[in-house]
Symmetry: C2
Subunit: 118 residues, 2 copies
DNA sequence: TTTATTCCCATAGATTGTCTAGTGGAGTAA
DNA sequence: TTACTCCACTAGACAATCTATGGGAATAAA
């Protein structure tokens, strides 16, 4: 049986989330380390299911962020007693978060200037 | 000699503009038909040079939008007396503009909920 | 004990949209 | 004639995502 749709409007995937996933992951890790599943769930939940995070996007993103030194990983045990790879924000990642947040704000302002000129 | 940098922060290209270009083109055409050069200039100017539109992105986007029936094209003569392909918004494109605008707003709200929880 | 289910990590291949780096033609100015 | 600007367009590379899997390990059900 196919899964029931979540609710409300169709969730947003790649198409418009592009480039934003990294920012959202960094932000999610501010409160403390987390593993993949938790990160994806947090983003979906805190966006009220508007944003969807597919596994095929999540793991490449995590590896990408780790390669760049913005997050670091270690093995641990999840709340459900499963082996899980935890990610934590590095100092470099914290700077990135600040930078990417203002970049995001700037883009939103710029797009809105076009969509809704004064 | 290399071109001088425009001004202020580095302009935003693809990386974060992704998926937004179509929306911006549609919006630009609301006031009337325009050709490629004008469209790119309008987006850059009205965003106060925050958004950059490369030709290598612009023309594929225009062809894409035309394929989908959201814009239509015709040959004309530019203000500088050059042959130019003008694009105009179709009724279908007008609907798309409305849909994509609220979609954009929804994404911005969702991302902001994560970046700045209440 | 066996089987099914859930949790978690991970990858391969296709697709999409962008970028870089050009080509070419036609009007205009030097 | 030459150089320059305006305008359209393309090829090839690249980056981030998606779809569709696979697989291991803990738990629950049979």
């Amino acid at each position: 049986m196919p899964a029931m749709p979540k609710r409300g409007n169709p969730p947003i995937q790649g198409e418009m989330l592009q480039g934003t996933l990294d920012l959202l992951i960094l932000k999610t890790l501010v409160v403390g380390p987390a593993h993949g599943h938790t990160i994806a769930y947090a983003i979906e939940h805190r966006s009220e299911d508007v944003l969807q995070v597919e596994h095929g996007s999540l793991y490449p993103a995590l590896h990408r962020l780790e390669d760049r030194g913005w997050i670091a990983s270690f093995w641990g045990t999840s709340e459900n007693n499963r082996k899980a790879r935890y990610y934590r924000l590095t100092p470099k990642g914290r700077k990135q978060l600040t930078a990417q947040t203002s970049r995001w704000d700037e883009i939103v302002r710029a797009v809105n200037r076009i969509l809704r000129p004064a």
